[in-house]
Amino acid sequence: MQSAVNLWPLLGVAVVTLGFLLRANPVLVVAAACGVTGLAAAMPIVALLESLGTAFVKTRNLPLILLLPLAAIGLLERFGLRERAQTAIAKVRSATAGRLLIVYLFARETSAAVGLTSLGGQASMVRPLVAPMAEAAAETQYGSLPDPLRHRIRAMAAATDNVGLFFGEDIFVAFGAIVLMQTILQAEGIAVDPLHMALWGIPTAITAFIIHAWNLRRLDAHIRREMGKA
């Protein structure tokens, strides 16, 4: 019974872990892991290349969400979109980086929860608008920021988009994850109402909002401390 499971393919996982820990170039790590996994599963080279190629062509849709908005965003940046976003936020006296991101978190999570997952995104919202606005809010308060602090604010902006998206979209009934869960449970002979799964996601969604909002307030405190020292 135990011997029925082949544990060799786990070598591929080991390669990935080791590669990321050693901070090797991730693209190279992935290629190496593909090779090792294929060998461990005793796939001939041509079969391995074929399954890599099929998978690569099949997943071409994945980078589109990042690539499609680039031309419009790049063009607007050239003519001063980021500067404009910063001027606009500087007029709001009560704005801080943390508060601004809490508002964005709320908007992102609730809009994703009603299925509007495209009202955000790293390329279309965070880079051109959210991150520059958060930086500008801190700059209006304290003046020019040192680079590490600036980078931290940007990273938090990206994190806020992710947290809002992940924990909002899963309480939308028609989202892929709910469909996937329903299919898998059905295969095991368990019938579940998608609406129930969506509802039982709400406690976690609220907890996620509270925890991340708390971390965003800590970001404000961190900025205050750092800039107070200078």
Partner: protein, 318 residues
């Protein structure tokens, strides 16, 4: 009908443009290998399914080797000088937001209002990939609006897209390659092996330990695979259904919902979910590629703990 294939061609042309621009750019220290990298990617987008699978696989490996041995570089970015950009920002004012907001708004309209529109008995938008096709249409509309507003040309838009692609460098292809690795992992049976490891070496006689193994296993598995959708079937099949539902009588809806959210906690902590974690770091020009993950860990870990407690206390709710 507008399908995903149209946007594959568009993106393929963009990469071909990036390749040619880099080839002709003397300020790029590695212009030949950079052009080769983006040229291969363009070929994969343009030729796509017409390539024999083994050739596509070999091209992917070639790209990985070029990128892995530092073959991908960028030329000096040509942006408007700072004062000129400030002046244009003043002149255009809040109108600059219009094309930027057209992106989400048009995407949403396409995905809701126009999704059922037929012309001559044919759907206008491909319904199988609705979100991406909608985003694609919105992007074209936004470029048109941006060109009109700033009086520039779509060619300038391509140049700006090249500047951003150059800045992100090989991080652009990382999510794509990781997705391939994920598919290879499931083909080679990595999921079964991990489930076997977790279920056969941990004693799940206590209800709390069983809940903790389920939630933490979900997160760990997602960290390894980079995708909650890959973790869910394995952990639900290995622990969720037989132990939590079968032995402890959990409500399957609660088990599934909180289980999937535990997997998402893993997504926040792994470089394997590159499109959420590594690409944004490149997009925001952060020197530390793990900066976004670092920012997410203080949210992900407490939330994972909260999920264990929520599942423990809620799982027997009807």
């Amino acid at each position: 009908m507008i399908t995903l294939d149209h946007f594959y061609i568009l993106v393929g042309l963009l990469f071909a443009f990036v390749a040619v621009m880099n080839l002709r750019d003397a300020s790029n220290p590695r212009r030949y290998s950079t052009a080769l990298f983006w040229g291969l990617y363009a070929l994969l987008y343009l030729a796509g399914e017409r390539l024999p699978p083994s050739v596509a696989g070999a091209l992917m490996i070639a790209m990985a080797l070029v990128a892995g041995f530092k073959g991908v570089a960028a030329g000096t970015a040509r942006t408007l000088p700072e004062p000129e950009r400030r002046a244009s920002s003043e002149r255009l004012g809040n109108r600059l937001f219009i094309p930027a907001l057209l992106l989400p708004v048009v995407t949403m309209l396409c995905a809701t209002v126009f999704k059922d529109v037929h012309i001559g008995g044919m759907l206008v938008l491909d319904d199988k990939h609705q979100t991406l096709v909608s985003l694609g249409c919105a992007s074209v509309v936004a470029v048109a609006a941006a060109c009109w507003l700033t009086r520039s040309t779509p060619l300038q838009g391509m140049r700006e897209a090249r500047r951003l692609v150059d800045a992100m460098s090989w991080a652009v292809v990382l999510p794509h390659m990781l997705a391939v690795l994920g598919l290879l992992f499931s083909e080679a049976g990595v999921g079964k092996a991990v489930a076997h490891m977790t279920t056969s070496y941990i004693n799940m006689d206590s209800r709390f330990i069983a809940v903790a193994v389920f939630c933490i296993g979900m997160a760990l598995f997602t960290i390894v695979m980079g995708n909650g959708f890959a973790a869910f079937p394995v952990m639900a099949g290995g622990v969720g259904i037989p132990v939590l539902v079968g032995v402890y009588g959990a409500n399957p809806a609660v088990m599934a919902a909180i289980g999937m959210f535990s997997a998402y906690c893993g997504t926040l902590m792994t470089p394997m979910a590159a499109n959420f974690n590594i690409v944004p770091a490149a997009l925001l020009e952060l020197p530390d590629k793990n900066a976004v993950i670092r920012a997410q860990i203080p949210t992900a870990l407490p939330l994972l703990g909260a999920n264990v407690l929520l599942l423990y206390f809620l799982m027997n709710q009807p």
